[in-house]
Amino acid sequence: MRNATTIFFLIIVLTGCMKDDPLNLSFESYAPKDIGDGHILSCPANEKIDSLLLFDIYNDANADDNLWSIRSLLVFRHGKLVAENYFKDQDDITSRHLIWSCTKQVLGALTGIAIEDGVITSIDDPISDYFTSELSGHDDKANISIQELITMKSGIGYSNDGTKGQTDKLLRQIPDNMVDYILSLPMETQPGSSFHYKDGDPHLLSAIIQKTTGKPTDVWADEVLFSRIGFRNYNWVRYKDGITHGGYGIETTPRELAKIALCVADSGRWNGDQIISPDWIIEMTTPKATETNYEYVMGYYWWIDTANSIYFMNGHGGQYAFVVPSKELVVVMTAIPNTQGDYQIEADQALEVVYRIMNISY
């Protein structure tokens, strides 16, 4: 019997030894490639970044098991792309991937344009100025303001739980009319009284923009923002009722995502043209929701690391674009998008990389 047991375990040892494939490609160079997408290329030394230490940062990111899901890391300084690497697949330089809630920050920027263009009269407008028939039977929502939607203080009892909450229904496209579904939810707090992170508020905001402009938010966004900053390699999906998603929905590349962050970093300018009002950029990146139950506070959908004066886009699974005004830095990091819990790159982990880059930028 002892011999049989030994043979059994020997068989398991000999045959049960499949090895994981390497999660990342070997890292060799962070030199950016010219693919004609409008980015100005440079090198770290020319932009006063220590190139050897930057190499170490990329090497560490490639080897760090805590960052195993990292897909790309791009560094821009003075508006120029100085370093990039695609850890899983070199084709990711042009391959679109989900950026999840980074879509909210795009919507935050678009709202500034909507106000500047008169699509939305005032950020203090109640949503009843825009939703008329939609609010029929939902009078308790009439006094929610645009300001409260864009700071996630609507008070609507919407849960972002992807398996049991309303976002599950949003993802699976269950309700026929998502706006009506969100508006029919009970109120959990008074509008404006407390922050509650959710996809419902930006979805309503997108619906307001769509109704007012008379065209899908993604189509309008292409006219007023994307086409003007060369943001071309993207797709922004709509709910089945035709409303462009506000809480998530954009698929794009890290280099394209960087264009949004670079425009914001340059006070709303792109190649010298003022695309977004500089006043809006200031407001958007000034804390508005400070009791978020997260480590970071929120402006108009933009997250803010107040201790280090960094504002950033943040999408599920580890999708980030960081703007560091004090160093004229923009850092984009993307990751495998559908990871959950401990298996996604958290903001503090990503920010550790950003802090290291800040420290070698002179």
Binding site: I11, T15, G16, M18, D20, G162, R172, I336, P337, D342
Partner: protein, 243 residues
């Protein structure tokens, strides 16, 4: 059952037996779709077998169902269902005390996996409808009877998820558990997939209902996205009914 009745009716000298087996499996799945990570886990499997034997021929029908959990980056869930495994074999040697039985088998296998931590909302699977040879050799060693069985697929249809772009939308319905493993079926032989099962059974000696077996299973899918599956199991087999 119609097939069973036909065989039985043609030759009443067949000896009929029923077996149920409980299998504890250690298994590994390496799926290119899942970043080539190897998930290790445990399956608990139940199997039913119906066997008809005559001096020169053997017919068997097997079905099994397994549930398992496996681990790597978070926990994953796995199911296996084999509704049909039919074998018809002939003794090809003259020594009926050490019979060597060879014949074809036909089997359908369905395997599902969910990786909620890494692939939220998405179902993975591998399934096969296969035919191939099975060889079985029984011999006494000291006071015990040992049965060695080897099964290997020769050709058939295999299904895996299609390489697709990421999507925000998913809808996992109960019907997907049926429709998905039948979608994207490709026909092939060793260029497409290989399914091997080796079993060593310390067979029930006279008057004993319980026997023990070690089983090794391998499934490899060689098109993209590639997949490898290995399972080792200890089987407790109980013969039911009259001995």
């Amino acid at each position: 059952m119609l097939l069973v009745n036909l065989i039985y009716a043609q030759n009443p000298t067949w000896i009929k037996s029923h077996h149920v087996a409980y299998k504890t499996q250690f298994f590994q799945i390496k799926d290119a779709f899942n970043y080539g990570l190897v998930y290790n886990g445990v399956n608990l499997k139940g199997e039913y077998s119906f066997v008809l034997k005559s001096d020169r021929k053997t017919f068997s029908y097997d079905a099994d169902l397994a549930f398992g959990v496996n681990f790597k980056k978070g926990v994953a869930l796995a199911w296996h269902f084999k509704p049909i495994d039919i074998f018809y074999g002939w003794r090809i040697n003259k020594n009926h005390l050490n019979p060597l039985i060879l014949g074809p088998y036909f089997a359908t296998n369905y395997n599902w996996q969910l990786y909620p931590y890494l692939q939220s909302g998405h179902m993975y699977w591998f399934s096969s409808i296969e035919i191939g040879p099975r060889i079985e050799y029984t011999t006494p060693i000291k006071s015990r009877l040992f049965r060695f069985t080897m099964t290997n697929s020769l050709a058939g249809w295999a299904s895996r998820p299609l390489p697709g772009t990421e999507t925000y939308f998913y809808s996992l319905k109960f019907s997907d558990f049926v429709s998905n493993p039948h979608s994207n079926m490709k026909f092939g032989s060793f260029d497409l997939f290989n399914h091997t099962i080796l079993e060593i059974e310390m067979a029930n000696t006279k008057g004993k209902r319980l026997s023990v077996a070690y089983e090794f299973e391998y499934f490899g899918y060689y098109n993209d996205p590639k997949l490898s599956y290995i399972a080792h199991s200890i089987n407790l087999i109980w013969r039911v009914g009259k001995i």
